[in-house]
């Protein structure tokens, strides 16, 4: 189980749920802030300007009405100037321009009014009948120009030809609305920050259960079927957590059931093998009697007696191997390791079975390692026995050492010159009860009889028990080659062995005397 980097504790930086949530929250906050600000600004500005305009128009109209009462038409320049000043005085000193045909009077003689009272406004006032106004920008500042024709008060309201304009400074209003913008602008930063914080909180409430679920899933995948997540709340994530727990429960239950069945099957094999031993022990004994007396029996009975003897021996071996394999399956095997001279051990194994003359050996001397001698003997017997049975002579056994990156190894190679293994059998040859095809037919039974079909499987288990392996392959000139590799351990670094079972003598000696 490799941890995907995205699920590392810090979470993803880009494209992660947290980032996406924060971005979304901030965008939403900004959008709503900007939208509401824009609307509020527009409305506020309109309202302020509207009020100013109305006030300006009304002020001007009232003042003009009041002042125009004692104003004679046609006026001269002086009268017009006085009129303009009077109007201006009444409306808070705003600049007032009065026009009568070609005469123009300005309340503040220094003010430049031409740019602010446009020809458009003048034309509109001249042709229209009511007040007109226009917002203008002059020298970068906003102004409101209001103009109206002065009508006669009597009845028909004819235009008198007198037109009055006032200029209102709009800077205060502009500053008011600008202040609104400023306050909104300064408010946006906290709002965005707040949104981000909220997003992080939201992300946390989502991410924590998700991460928890991720952890539990990883543990489950790694084989810890007891891994569960805490369910909090009633949201969708809690549902998910509950579902996960239910799934894990189901998985654990079926796993336990499978294990139970497997254990039962194993126990059954072990029990059956065990039960077979007692009758076999009796049969083995009496078969000896039959064997010894076969020569005095009639030919048919003699053959039958010998067959009973041979098959009893074979059955014994099969039961023996079944017991051994069930011990491996149940994990009830122990390595009884001691420092061993491997060349000597191989020679002893061969001699014990009378194979010394049938096998070529090339054994490196002085290779000593901590091994379980009995188990090494089983491996050697199996590999050499197979080569003699299935392969063709000469069978060669080569002992040596190799150094790889993962340490020093003892290698034992058993090669024959038979047809070799069928293609693809390299793995399966270690399967239980694997029967090779006709290429490796069962030869005549030698003194070790037929294999039980479990030999290679047991040999491999024994090698693994030492932390080693057995590989099957083909030699350069055909023929099968089985290679045993065992770790070359000289010191007792792994476990206490039976050296220590009865003796607590801790003295060590470098070499034999």
């Amino acid at each position: 189980m490799s941890r995907r980097s995205g699920w590392s504790r810090g979470g993803r930086l880009v494209g992660g749920l947290r980032t996406r949530l924060v971005v979304a929250f901030v965008v939403v906050a900004l959008l709503s802030a900007v939208t509401s600000t824009a609307l509020a600004y527009r409305d506020a500005r309109t309202a302020v300007l509207q009020r100013t305009q109305n006030a300006a128009v009304n002020d001007l109209r009232e003042r003009v009405t009041a002042v125009a009462a004692d104003f004679d038409v046609p006026p001269d320049q002086r009268a017009l100037s006085r009129f303009a000043s009077k109007v201006s005085d009444g409306i808070g000193g705003r600049i007032v321009v009065a026009r009568y045909q070609d005469l123009v009077a300005v309340s503040d003689s220094l003010a430049d009014t031409e740019a602010r009272i446009t020809t458009g406004l003048r034309a509109a006032v001249r042709t229209g009948s009511g007040a007109r106004f226009q917002r203008v920008t002059w020298r970068g500042e906003p102004y409101l120009a209001v103009g109206m024709p002065v009508t006669y008060a009597d009845g028909d309201r004819r235009a008198s030809g007198l037109e009055v304009f006032s200029i209102t400074d709009l800077r205060a209003e502009r500053d008011d609305t600008a202040a609104l913008l400023d306050s909104v602008r300064s408010g946006v930063v906290p709002v965005v920050l707040l949104a981000a914080v909220l997003a992080l909180l939201a992300a946390r409430t989502v991410l924590r259960p998700v991460r928890e679920l991720g952890r539990a899933t990883r543990e489950l995948a790694a084989g810890d079927l007891g891994s569960r997540v805490a369910v909090t709340g009633h949201d969708e994530l809690a549902d998910l957590a509950r579902t996960f727990n239910d799934t894990a429960d189901a998985l654990q239950a079926s796993d336990a059931e499978l294990r139970e069945q497997e254990a039962k099957a194993r126990r059954f094999v072990a029990d059956v093998s065990h039960e077979l031993r007692t009758p076999l022990a009796a049969m083995t004994m009496v078969a000896t009697v039959l064997d010894e007396d076969a020569d005095q029996l009639p030919p048919d009975a003699a053959r039958a007696a010998r067959t009973v003897g041979a098959e009893t021996a074979r059955l014994s071996r099969l039961v023996e191997d079944l017991m051994e394999i069930s011990r491996f399956d149940a994990g009830a095997v122990r390595l009884n390791a001691a420092e061993t001279d491997l060349a000597e051990a191989v020679r002893a194994s061969l001699a014990l079975r009378g194979w010394t003359d049938r096998v070529r050996t090339d054994l490196a001397e002085g290779v000593r390692a901590r091994v379980d001698r009995r188990r090494v003997d089983v491996i050697v017997a199996n590999l050499v026995g197979n080569a003699l049975r299935h392969g063709a002579p000469p069978v060669t056994v080569t002992l040596g050492t190799t150094v790889t990156e993962d340490g020093e190894w003892v290698t034992l190679e058993v090669a024959d010159h038979g047809p070799g293994l069928p293609p693809g059998a390299g793995e399966r040859v270690f399967d239980r009860f694997y029967k090779a095809d006709a290429a490796r037919t069962r030869g005549a039974a030698d003194d070790s009889g037929q294999g039980s079909g479990l030999g290679t499987a047991i040999a491999l288990e024994n090698a693994r028990l030492h932390g080693g392996t057995i590989d099957a392959g083909s030699g350069p000139e055909g023929g099968a080659v089985f290679t045993l590799r065992l770790p070359l351990r000289r010191t007792d670094d792994e476990r206490r062995t039976d050296d220590d079972l009865w003796s607590d003598d801790r003295s060590t000696r470098e070499d034999a005397e």
Partner: protein
């Protein structure tokens, strides 16, 4: 005519073994239970028994206990255990209980016989008579009389342990590998289990050494085997 006591609860196995051993010239007594075997040994014919073949799986008191009780009665009767399991624990426990050797069922007649013969041979005198050199603790091995005394007191040793002591003390200071000892003391012509040696050494130390954990006579040479002395 070696006299063998066969302790086995299964009638067929017992009959088969008895049949084979009788044919090969042994006198055989049989017992179906441990209790029966012990009362037979205590009886008038008990002294004739030269070797016991003992099944570990017995009804009533089990083989381990029978072995201990045999050892409590006589130090010198060789005991070969028959184990149906071949499990490490059984073997170790059996050897600690004082068995000299063990065979795993089903055992073939030639193997059983070879083990019986080897066990009986250990009870015979052998080797040159040789002292053990000066020893302040006063261990004296009489190779002719096959007796061992320590500070003047006789130490009762079963034949296997005695044979092991004789083998080791014949060449003081020489290191014997477990395999060598298996071949010379137990007469194993097959690949034996070196734990038999370790168990016998352990039992021997318990009887000879003043401090079995710090042995003076039978010393361990780690990675190689055992040696006698140097004192």
């Amino acid at each position: 005519m070696p006299h063998v006591l066969l302790i086995e609860d299964d009638a067929s196995v017992r009959d088969g073994m008895e049949l084979v051993l009788r044919r090969h010239g042994y006198d055989v007594d049989t017992a179906a239970t441990g209790e029966q075997a012990l009362s037979l040994l205590d009886g008038p014919g008990g002294a004739r028994v030269e070797l016991a073949v003992l099944d570990l799986m017995l009804p009533g008191i089990d083989g381990f206990e029978v072995c201990r009780r045999i050892r409590a009665r006589t130090a010198t009767l060789p005991v070969i255990m028959l184990t149906a399991r071949g499990d490490d624990r059984d073997i170790v426990t059996g050897l600690e209980a004082g068995a000299d050797d063990y065979v795993v069922k089903p055992v073939t007649a030639p193997v059983l016989e070879a083990r019986i013969r080897a066990a009986l041979r250990r009870a015979e005198p052998s080797g040159p008579v040789r002292g053990t050199g000066p020893d302040p603790a006063g261990l004296v091995i009489d190779r002719a009389g096959l007796t061992v005394t320590k500070r003047g007191v006789q130490v009762a040793l079963p034949p296997t342990e005695l044979r092991l002591l004789l083998e080791l003390s014949a060449s003081p200071g020489r290191v014997f590998s477990r395999e060598q000892l298996l071949a010379s003391v137990w007469d194993h012509t097959f690949l034996g289990d070196s734990r038999i040696v370790d168990a016998a050494v352990g039992r021997l130390r318990a009887k000879l050494e003043d401090v079995p954990a710090k042995p003076r006579y039978v010393q361990t040479v780690r990675g190689f085997g055992y040696r006698f002395g140097p004192l």
